[in-house]
């Protein structure tokens, strides 16, 4: 009984501390804020309603805007596609080099794993900002930035897939005198390719969003157009609406198509083994 009461006391104190931290933290943040949080909250819906209102007013122009911004959409998808492809190829190499039992140089596994950790840890936008300073704006810095991050992210997932690969075929290929590249390409890849492809498709979806966001920092594509259109007071909210819709529809379509194929890849072939 005494024990129970003590435990209840501890829970109460924890809750109290939690509430105090929340309140004081919130007040501190509200004080530091440029405007007033509570004052701003009342106007929260002014901006979206103006965007939606203006876009609805000029709804007739939407199809024309779709046409105008279509090339920018293609650029965004292009950046995502190329960076996913390059990232996946590098990820394949790094993942094979960092999987126990498959690695070409077993002592280097730790090194290659840390390389992937670092590549994964740096956000795309940081790399893109630096590269835009160095190379100037455009799709190439965005592509490099996304490919860099993709390599780290996919490399980790791929090496987890590799760990489940059956080593018997690899042993069989070793016994005929096949070199490392041949063992990997012919012994491991046929086993893991469906899962790799599934992860790469998922990453492609993520990269479309990433490439749209990178447009905001000057990397071109749909994000750049959106940044120009969405600023207040230019009367371009119809364009912003069109871009939003375009991006939204693209992501939905890619999402649906890729999840269809991913399902096929992971479940369709499961019966074979």
């Amino acid at each position: 009984m005494a024990q129970l009461r003590q435990r209840q006391l501890y829970s109460g104190v924890t809750l109290l501390v939690f509430v105090l931290v929340m309140v004081s933290g919130f007040n501190l943040a509200a004080d530091r804020n440029g405007g007033s949080f509570w004052g701003g909250l009342k106007n929260f819906f002014d901006y979206p309603s103006e965007v939606v209102g203006e876009a609805a007013e000029k709804a007739a122009e939407l199809p024309a805007h779709f046409k105008t911004f279509f090339p920018a959409l293609v650029e965004t998808i292009n950046i995502a596609g190329v960076s996913t492809l390059i990232g996946a190829l590098l990820a394949i190499m790094l993942s094979l080099l960092s999987t126990r039992g498959l690695a070409r140089w077993p002592r280097m596994i730790f090194f290659f794993r840390r390389v992937m950790d670092i590549m994964r840890a740096i956000p795309e936008i940081v790399i893109a900002l630096i590269l835009i300073f160095v190379l100037g704006g455009g799709p190439v810095p965005a592509m490099i930035a996304i490919a860099f991050h993709t390599t780290g992210a996919l490399g980790k997932l791929f090496s987890e897939v590799n760990e489940n690969a059956d080593l018997k075929p690899v042993d069989g290929l070793s016994s005929v005198g096949a070199n490392w590249t041949q063992r990997m390409m012919l012994g491991v890849v046929p086993q893991v390719a469906p899962n790799w492809l599934s992860y790469a498709l998922l990453r492609f979806e993520i990269n479309i969003r990433a490439s749209a966001i990178l447009g905001f920092v000057g990397a071109g594509g749909l994000g750049y157009e959106l940044k120009n259109a969405i600023s207040w007071g230019q009367g371009k909210f119809d364009e912003a609406g069109a871009i939003f819709l375009l991006l939204f529809l693209t992501i939905v379509v890619v999402d649906q198509v890729s999840s269809h194929f991913r399902n096929k890849l992971t479940h369709g072939s499961a019966g074979g083994h």
Partner: protein, 265 residues
Amino acid sequence: MLLSVENVTKTFGQNNAVDSATFTVERPAMIGIIGRSGAGKSTFLRMMNRLTDATSGVLKFDGRDILQLKGAAKRAWQSDCAMIFQQFNLVPRMDVVSNVLHGTLNKRSTVATMFNLFPQSDIHMAIEILDRLGIAEQAPKRAEALSGGQQQRVAIARALMQDPKIILADEPIASLDPMNAQVVMDALRRIHEEDGRMVIANLHTLDTARRYCDRVIGMRDGRIVFDGTPDQLTTGAARDIYGADASFSEAATSTSIDALEGVPA
């Protein structure tokens, strides 16, 4: 002298998996290695193929110590010394012909083989070998779709595709039913007789060793404790190899269909 094994030893921690194995083979023969599980048979074959490194010893083939080979020279030796496994070790998702063509990987360029580009003559040869083993009609199927006995014959075809000097077989029939076991052992014997290749097979049944081999080597706890002709392999010698007492009966472990006739019902 063709093959000489001198004091080949493999140590895992404190254990000697293979302890000073020594024997010589003067001319191509069909040799069976018997012994209970853990006696070091598999480790010995894996060392010969260089899948596993030996701890010490010398293993000479035509005067060259193959335990010292490294890199490309080691892979060239592996291509001369084919290996057949208990679990077949084929690539399950690839078709049978591709699996057989893998036997030529060491002789072809990496880039060409990566894209499955093999010379037309190699493909014809692969199908001829499959035909010789009686499974040519399975050629376009995926390896995983075949029965165990068929998969083992594909593995033998891959070994033949290497055009090897020696074929090592590590428990080739241990996961097969008696019918398929006989087909596979007959194939190995025929390869030895028709092509004059040396065959060294780890076997887990005495009657298979007696029936198919010219020479039998018995291993116990990593040591070679018997080396002689099948005739010299008496029940007493077998009991020594397996460390069994008088209740040991050969028929009880046999996988041969004929042996069943000798067992009282």
